[in-house]
Amino acid sequence: MPELTDQQPSPRQRNWAPWIAVLLALAAILSNAGFFVALPGQRALAWLGVVLAIAAIVCAVIGVMRAFRQPQIYGGKVSSAILGIVSLLICGLVAVTSIGSRAMPAATNAPQVGQKVPDFTLADTTGNKVSLNQLLGKADLPVSASASNTAAQTTPGGLSPTTAIYTNTATPPKAVLLVFYRGYW
């Protein structure tokens, strides 16, 4: 007859939750790389990062609670705490990235469909001033930018020759796409 040894009150289990938390947090912050690939569904990607971060925090909390409330089963109080802090820090980075990317004023007073856009006269990359009317083809474009006159123009700084920036100047364009961007490239 086999000897009955003392049974453990409950079997030991590996505390996976803190590790899963770190993996989810890493997935959340790395999901930002997806924005550099020109695929559809970028709005969903932004929300995916938030969802993964929340899941990471939930797993981190579960991991710490299991380690501290049921130490005889899970153990690993120190490792769960450290992994929990790491997860929280990474999720903090996700939060900063998400909030920072959306921090901008609304465009409520910008020109809307059906309205006329304000006129402007701004310098192009050769330093020539060009107006909206010129871009719309209602007036001639700056002389130095015409297709026949795109010879090498080196600046005192030694920059390379300029290439034609106003293409198809013979016929006026059907439309102009004004792209306002943040700059500080």
């Binding site: 930002n32 924005f35 020109a38 970028q42 709005r43 932004a46 990317s101 959306r102 921090a103 901008m104 004023p105 609304a106 465009a107 409520t108 007073n109 910008a110 020109p111 809307q112 469909v113 059906g114 309205q115 006329k116 856009v117 304000p118 006129d119 402007f120 701004l122 310098a123 192009d124 990359t125 050769t126 330093g127 060009v130 871009l135 719309l136 083809g137 700084g157 920059l159 390379s160 300029t162 290439t163 034609a164 920036i165 106003y166 293409t167 198809n168 006026p172 364009p173 059907k174 439309a175 102009v176 796409l177 004004l178 792209v179 306002f180 961007y181 943040r182 700059g183 500080y184 490239w185």
Partner: protein, 93 residues
């Protein structure tokens, strides 16, 4: 359809950008953000060291200067929906 990019960057910086990225459309400079203000796109203090920049926006403008399509992103990571813009451009005769 002629794309025209506008930002607070100087012509020198924009020239570098055009060269490195291979852009062949005009990139215009609005260093004091005057035109950006007139379009109500100013993002005060939104740039490095609290400089004023534009918030991102695209306008498809027909030959009469009227807006036919706009795109105002809420997230700078999300790029413009090119297919929507091209569809709007194709509708212009």
């Amino acid at each position: 359809m002629r794309p025209v990019a506008i930002s607070v960057d100087t012509p020198e910086v924009s020239r570098d950008l055009a060269k490195k990225a291979g852009y062949t459309f005009p990139i215009l400079s609005d260093p004091q953000a005057e035109t950006i203000r007139r379009y109500n796109l100013l993002h005060k203090g939104g740039g490095p060291e609290g400089s004023d920049i534009a918030r991102p926006a695209e306008f498809l403008v027909d030959s009469s200067g009227t807006v036919r399509w706009t795109n105002f992103t809420e997230d700078i990571r999300i790029r413009a929906k090119a297919d929507e813009m091209l569809a709007a451009a194709r509708e212009l005769k």
